[in-house]
């Protein structure tokens, strides 16, 4: 009684977690991830001894008995070995046709009836198995063998599936439907199965298989490349560990024939001026120019120097008197003296004039200020002044002259 109760409880558990168990079987290689979400499922399956695992950190695996049961109810096994299954059925079909032929020769009517029925059933099985066989490959493509974590094992499984698909294609090509159809006699249903349904199923299955095979081959190429990259990363890692400070170099290579993988260009900026010579661009350029002059955004954040609390700007209309500059006054007075002709035929040396003012200013600045002041005079006044430069060529660069003083005198011709 207790045993029956346990069995009932197991079946109820399978029903309760049916979806998760099927998911593990069909999509996850019979593995159940050890996560909080699966806590209830794992506890139940462990209680009913339907899962196993090696280490605590490993995912749980469905037990063989449960996998076999799932294989049966999902027809996984039948699909997996579909090529063998179809092959057996096809042989069976050929034998039935032989018997059928023999029965017809002997006019054994009841046997003919029986064999027709068996042929129909066998043919329907062949069609179904062909469909199932090709559908299985779509599952492999969709999962990408992701349930196998080890790349090497995944590659092996992919190779095995490609082999299986290849076997199935060879098998389909070996079918001689026409020969069988000729033996079908006058039975309309049999003829329809052999001449219409079977060829149509075969054609679409061959098409699907070819596509699947192509995808599986692409997947294999990708996986092999992944494996190559993975090994390369491993090799570099080991090399860096064994050769501390290793840094690859190509400094010794000539690089006249540079390998493609190294040949990449240095950044090359392409910039041009706005076309200010074409009036068609004027409007756009004006707009750009208007936006180009902007006040820096961070002006308000600039730190205020010590001792400057506030800055007050001029009020419109307000005037501020500026103190007189004694140097400027002295120069103006000197120039006015020369312009007015107060010196007569006489002349005055700029250095002597400076000494007379009592101002403490560098002589070079004084001379420069006098020349600037004269140059800023109106043309009429400028003509009344004659300036003689006291100059000597530079001792290293004779094209340059050194000014040591100025002689100013009134120009009567001006």
């Amino acid at each position: 009684m207790a045993r029956a109760q346990d069995a009932h409880s197991t079946l109820r558990a399978l029903a309760k977690y049916g979806e998760a168990i099927l998911e593990a079987h069909l999509r996850n290689g019979n593995r159940i991830p050890d996560s909080d979400d699966n806590l209830g499922l794992i506890e139940t399956l462990e209680h009913h001894r339907l899962v196993w695992r090696i280490g605590e950190s490993e995912d749980l695996q469905l037990k063989k008995v449960l996998v076999q049961f799932l294989d049966h109810i999902t027809e996984s096994e039948r699909r997996r070995y579909a090529s063998a299954q179809v092959h057996i059925l096809w042989q069976q079909l050929s034998e039935l046709f032989q018997e059928y032929k023999e029965a017809k020769k002997r006019s054994a009517l009841s046997d003919i009836d029986r064999l027709e029925g068996e042929i129909k059933e066998c043919l329907a099985d062949v069609i179904e198995d062909i469909r199932n066989a090709t559908e299985a490959f779509a599952t492999y493509i969709n999962t990408g063998f992701a349930y196998i974590t080890d790349l090497h094992l995944r590659i092996r499984e992919n190779e095995r599936v490609i082999e299986r698909a290849g076997r199935l294609i060879t098998l389909f090509e070996s079918f001689r439907i026409r020969e069988l159809a000729e033996q079908a006699g006058s039975d309309a249903f049999l003829k329809r199965l052999l001449l219409r349904h079977l060829p149509a199923t075969l054609e679409s299955s061959q098409k699907n298989l070819s596509y699947a095979l192509n995808q599986l081959r692409k997947m294999l190429v990708r996986m092999r490349e992944d494996q190559r990259l993975s090994r390369m990363v491993g090799a570099f890692e080991a090399h860096f560990i064994n050769n501390r400070g290793f840094e690859p170099s190509i400094d010794h290579l000539d690089l006249r024939q540079v390998p493609e993988s190294l040949n990449t260009v240095a950044p090359f900026q392409i910039r041009g001026f706005g076309d200010i010579y074409d009036s068609a661009d004027d409007l756009e350029l004006i707009e750009i120019a208007a936006k180009a002059r902007t006040v820096p955004a961070d002006i308000e954040d600039k730190p205020v120097p010590d001792g400057v609390d506030t800055v007050s700007f001029d009020v419109a209309g307000e005037t501020e008197t500026e103190d007189d500059d004694p140097v400027e006054d002295a120069i103006e007075e000197l120039i006015q003296l020369v312009v007015d002709g107060a010196l007569g035929e006489g002349a005055i040396l700029a250095s002597e004039a400076l000494a007379g003012t009592g101002l403490r200013i560098d002589k070079a600045d004084w001379l420069q200020a006098i020349v600037s002041e004269i140059e800023s005079l109106p043309d009429g006044d400028q003509r009344h002044i004659e300036v003689i430069y006291h100059q000597t060529p530079h001792w290293i660069y004779p094209d340059n002259v050194m000014i040591s003083d100025l002689t100013l005198k009134h120009n009567h011709a001006g």
Binding site: A235, F246, P248, L255, L262, N263, T264, V265
Partner: protein, 211 residues
Amino acid sequence: MSSPLFERTVTALLQERVICEVSDDELYNYLLLPGNQDAVNRFLGQINRTLRQTSARDAFVCAYLDTSDAETREAIRHQFRDVANNLEAFVQFLRLVMMLGANDRPVLPGDKLSEGAILERIAAAPALESKLRSLAEKKVFHTKRADSAGQIRAVLSSLEKMGYLKPVGTTGSLFRATGRWSWLYDAMTFIQAHEGIQATEDADSEQMRLH
């Protein structure tokens, strides 16, 4: 008559960008058409440059047509030094990602990398935490942050700045790997052959099993 896509494509190529489906979807699609490739190549050819595809054929790059000029060769050496200087850090990053994914496969263009998912895996495995710490000490990924989250962010941000990752969405924590990885693997393949770095299958598997 100028073509905006042609201009953008050529400018991107000359700026040393690697054009792929992830980094520049529009430009990549433009370059997939043979006629457009010819137009770009005709232009580049006049300035001693040409269009190339990575060996995985998932990204386009610009290369020099003639490398006999000393200045060109120096530019190539300079580009190579950039890779060589940071190679150890990149290898460590790739190994870390392979351990996180537990799928024996390095980062490939189009792969998604989530800051949250990486953090979750690292929190569960102290060995990976020390790997991350060591990675964050490398010059190219350097950060002063001592926490795993800060270190992951620094590593991913550096890779984004270098064009190896492109952010997805607006969170700034989800990225997709670009075709620059393909180009890096091509460069690594050359270095491996040139420096005679042997890949031993057993050692490789052993490395993976240790973690």
